[in-house]
Each structure stands twice: as C-alpha cells, then as structure tokens.
Symmetry: C2
DNA sequence: CTGAAAGCGCTAACAA
DNA sequence: TTGTTAGCGCTTTCAG
C-alpha cells in the first residue's frame, strides 16, 4: 500500500524518498532537507514532526541524489593492480585513516582482473571526488585523460600530469645491496623480481645495479622474473636450486617473494644465510616473524596512502612528495642476531 | 570559456554533459542518449554527427545521472571486517569474477577501522544494487534493516533475514581434530583463536570440542584468544612457550595464525610436529609453502564469493548454500611427507 | 527518425 | 520559519 507516485512492479524493496517524508510530516521537501542537515532555521515543533516521520519510515537521504546535487560524491577512489598482499592492504588503511576523518567513503578498484582497466577507472572516476592511482597500473596517456576531469595522485610511481607520493626505492635498494657487498663481502648477487613489472620494482632493480656498478661487479645472472607473491618466491627457489651453483645473495623485489625463498630453500638443502643471503623490501610484518628474520627496507606504506588520500581529496600536494625509507638489518643477510642494530639511518631523496 | 549555463568558479575541472553534446551536434539530448545506447532508430548521418561531437568533447555519460534514472547503480558492495589477508582477497576475487561477467563494478568496505560500521554500510547500500556481507560484521538487527531496502547475502555467516553461502566449518573442524586424535593419538589439544571473534571461528571451535567430546577428552587449556593474522600467531607462540608444558597439538582458527606459530615456535626450541602438532584452516597458499607444510582444511573461498555475488546481483539463491570443504593432510600434524595423501574426502552439510 | 518534457532524489536560491 | 522551484545528468514515454 505504498504511496509512491510511480511505476513499481511487485515486491522489489523500495526506499522512502524525501517527498514521502514531506508528505508524511505535512511539510515541504525543503524543510525535510533542512532537518537532515541540522539547519537551525527550522522550528523545534516542525523539526520534531519531521524527525518522527523520518524515523517512522526509516528514511536516509539518497547519497546518489545528493551527489548529483552537490556535484560531489564524498568518495575517494583507489586504483591498484590487485588487492592481495599486505602492501596494498597497508596502503588502503593509510588512505582510509584520512578518509574516515573527513567523512568520505572509499572505493578500491583492482585492475588486475578487469579486461579493460582504463574503462573501469574512468567509471570509477565519475563516482569519486579524487583518485589514488598506483604506479604502473595505467599508461601515461590515460592518466592525462583522467587528469582533465579528476583530481588524481599517483602513489609509488610518477607522471608528468599528476602529483605523486613515493619513496626513493632506487637509493634504498642501493644502500641495501651495498650492505651485502661491503659488510658481508658478497660478490655474486642476483636480483629476484620482474624489473618491468612496476615502477617500484624497476627502481629497486636500478638501485641494485648501481651498487654493483660502484664496486665493479657484474650480476651473478639475469634477474629471475617472478611475481611479487609468496608463491612466486617458492617457485623462484626451485629454479635457483635447479640452476645449481647458488649466488652469494639473492636480492628480492619485495618481502613476500623473499619469504617464499626463505621458506623453500632450506627444504632444498640450502641454508640461509650461510649458503645464500636473502633480502626483502617493504618490511611487512612477516619480515620480522620469518626465520631467519628478514633483512629488508622499511617503507612507510600507510603514510604513502595517507598523503595520497589527502592530496586526492583536495589538499595541496607538491608535484613530488618523497617519504623516507629505512634499512632494516636482521639476520637473513648474514648479520648475527646480536650485532644487528634494529635500524640504520634512512635513505631518501 | 566554457558554455556551461551554471555556477562555476575558476579552474575546477568539468566534464561535458549530455546537453553540451546535444548543443554541439545540433540535436536534442534524447538523440544523444540514443546514440550512447546504440539505439537503431537514429539515422546514420545524425548518429555520426553526434558521435563526432562526443569524441571531440570527450564525453562519457555520467554514471551518477544514469544510476538515478535507472534506479540501478550497476555496482556490487562487499562488506568485510578488514581487507588484509589472503582470505578476503580470495573472496573478493571470486565476487569480482562474476561482477566482471555482468559488467558490474565492485565496492568493498572494511568496517574494521570505521567507527560507525552500520552507518557506513547503509551508505554503501544506497550506492549499490546488492550487498555481500561477511558473517559477524553486523548485528542481526542491522541486517534486518538493510534487508528491507537492499538485496543482501551473507557469506561465512548466517541470518534469519538473508540468504547465506557458507561451509560447514564445524564438521570440518571436527574431522580435522579427529585426525589428530585418532591417527596421531594426541590427547592434550588446545584451540588457538577467539571463539567469539567471528561466526567462522565460533563454528571451528565448536567442531574442535565435538571431536574432543566424542573421545571423552577435555581441552588442554582454554582457547588462546588471538586474532587471525600471522603476527598474532607469533604472539601466541610466545605465550605457549612461557606457559611451559606444551600441549600435544594446537588447533588454529586459520592458516595465518598457524603460520605465525610455525615460524616462531622452532626458534623457541619446540620442534614441529615432533614436540607439538599444528593445524590451520582455509588452505591459503602459504599453507603449502610453510615448513613443515601445514595440515589444514581447504575451503573454496573464491567460490563462496562468486556464489554470494550472483545472489546479491539478483540470481535466485537458496536460503542456505553450503559449499564443500576438504581436509588437507600435510606434515604439520605429524604425518610423514610420504604417507600423507594430498587430499582426503571432504566434509560438509 | 527526432524532439519536448517529465521524472529519478536531492539541494539551494529566492519568495513569502 | 517555511514553501516553491529550478537544476544536477540522464532516460524514456509520448507526440510529431
């Protein structure tokens, strides 16, 4: 027995609109709107009548209607390759922390499974006030297009068209690699990860090579092209084992990859770090729990997300915001538990 | 020098609307709408003119406007406690696979950090055509309210008001625990996890107790109340160690918890499974990579997500859809690598 | 084949 | 203090 004015079929659930409330309370829609906005201009008595109608019918203003009227959705979009793994979870949490403060909802999109990533992102752009885009998910050309109508900020990547927040992965990787060479005397080092996979990995590989070059060392072998997850690490371990003659150290593109190696190599008869040193990147919580504990580079991932969120939501942002990293020496590089300082001074541009 | 009719301040980026295109092409908005819908009724010549205007101005129909008009958002919402961890990532991927097929966007909400979860979910409900809700994230009363205006389906949980898709965690946990008791002769078993934490954990604990009861065994100690992540597992390990006198077996609420134990206990001088057996739950990829490899229960998590998505998007769904689980025997329970069948017949209601 | 206009739920300027 | 109304971007009957 609904009083709705329009087409309705049968049982589809329907929500009361502002007009329903207005009618129920015997006022105009404007008054209802004022009540939902706590506008002080509305009389106590009227206000109460409206509020009762609202409660009785269970009304909530449609955010769709509001968005259309406001020309603002109160939503922040986040574009990532995928949503697996602790790195992206941390990034999202960082963004979420500022979104919550500002009463903004979050909408994350994983492009990985979407056949047409660009189209999905455009869609998302329409439904949000700003976009955080992970480096490497979209071609520069598409970023340009998006930048025309949306406020976008890149995280862990760079672009000419949008501000970005990132860390100096290249310097950090170099520092890490230097440690392996200078402190532990390793000479045969190999990189694990797909250098072309993401801007982050590209930079880490570059830093790895910088360190080698500074010491006139050649790579012990081409990079082992693997993804950034634990399973890939396990696969890489098997390949390393089958190749025979392990390098002195394996520098992994991220922690998960390193953990995969760490967990698999011992079963194959290789001791870490005695036979081969392993390092990670990111300093996820797994790094500290692994055994041996993982030497890695700490990144303020949540802060990356928070800064990016603030920027995407309208705060002024330098065209390039670089956050500090910190080398974290544990045992997987060969340092003994005792002589391992828990942290060393950081590296960043 | 925009031709927009309305208030515009300075440099805020603006998108062309259907009216801009209509004006540019010298037609009515209705015609433009038809072109964007490939309506065959529009003449080739006109159609081309409109299309050119669209391309020239870079127009894309506003999904907000469309949603308001259609009364449908083409978006699926997913409500989870948090977005960390492989379990939820897999769940989302399952849902995403059907969302992609149907040209629907996905919007996931992690309630964990949101101070007012219920309000956030209501908001989300307005912006979506259907909602997948993880068991335990919302009180029954709130589910009732949501069900009035949204199509909701529960995953890994149950409710009187909405259909649900889940596994029989209780039966699976019992089968797993029986294995520990009957095959390995363990007598002193303890549960790790917070039974009140989520419906899933509640059921697993119940199954654990069922098995003990069937053998007239008492718990070796109260459940160790820890979260469901790796770090919690490491903490639990420390507590177990400090309590002295380890139980024969530790039955963990999920794989991540188990992995945390697995990685930490050896460093504390306890060998697995010789000194203490460990089991997980879920069969995430880490389970196979851990050493010793983790005995656990396989759950079709992606399928849970896929079924739930289909239901939330309008497919008919039984009020209770139960998916099969499968006991996965590896080495952390004490089975030798050789005599461990990689899978055993499943348990499910 | 095309256009005018009403309507989706809401806000805000303007009137009263 | 309250109401009227135009408008946000789009779809869709109904005329023409």
């Amino acid at each position: 027995m609904s009083t709705r004015t329009t087409r309705r079929s049968g049982a589809a659930p329907t929500r009361p609109t502002i007009r329903d409330i207005a009618r129920e309370a015997g006022v105009s829609v404007a008054t209802v709107s004022r009540v939902t906005h706590d506008d002080p201009r509305v009389t106590g008595e009227t206000k109460q009548r409206v509020q009762e109608a609202i409660d009785r019918l269970g009304y909530t203003p449609s955010s769709l209607g509001r968005a259309l009227s406001y020309q603002r959705t109160n939503t922040l979009g986040i574009v990532l390759p995928g949503l697996g793994g602790p790195y992206f979870a941390a990034l999202i949490e960082g963004a979420e922390s500022v979104a919550i403060q500002r009463g903004v909802a979050i909408n994350v999109l994983g492009t990985h499974l979407r056949p047409d990533a660009a189209a999905s992102v455009r869609q998302l752009a329409e439904r949000t006030d700003g976009l955080i885009i992970a480096g490497g998910t979209l071609p520069e050309q598409e970023l340009e297009r998006l930048a025309k109508t949306s406020r976008i900020v890149l995280v862990a990547g760079e672009s000419d068209t949008a501000p970005s927040v990132l860390t100096d992965g290249r310097a950090a990787a170099e520092e890490l690699t230097r440690h392996l060479i200078e402190v532990h005397g390793h000479r045969r080092l190999q990189f694990v990860g797909e250098p072309a996979g993401s801007p982050d990995t590209t930079l880490r590989y570059a830093g790895f090579r910088d360190a080698l070059a500074a010491h006139d060392l050649a790579e012990a072998g081409d990079p082992l092209h693997y993804g950034l997850d634990v399973r890939s690490g396990a696969l890489a371990a098997r390949q390393v084992h089958e190749n025979g003659a392990l390098p002195d150290a394996l520098v992994c593109a991220n922690d998960e990859l390193a953990i995969g190696l760490l967990a698999t190599l011992p079963g194959l008869g290789h001791r870490i770090p005695a036979d081969v040193a392993i390092t990670g990147f990111d300093d996820q919580s797994l790094a500290e729990i692994a055994s041996p504990r993982l030497t890695t580079v700490h990144q303020p991932v949540a802060e990356l997300g928070a800064h990016a969120a603030a920027g995407a939501l309208g705060d002024d942002l330098a065209s390039r915001t670089v956050l500090e990293t910190r080398l974290v020496i544990r045992e997987s590089c060969g340092c003994a538990p005792s002589d391992a300082p828990s942290a060393l001074p950081g590296a960043a541009g």
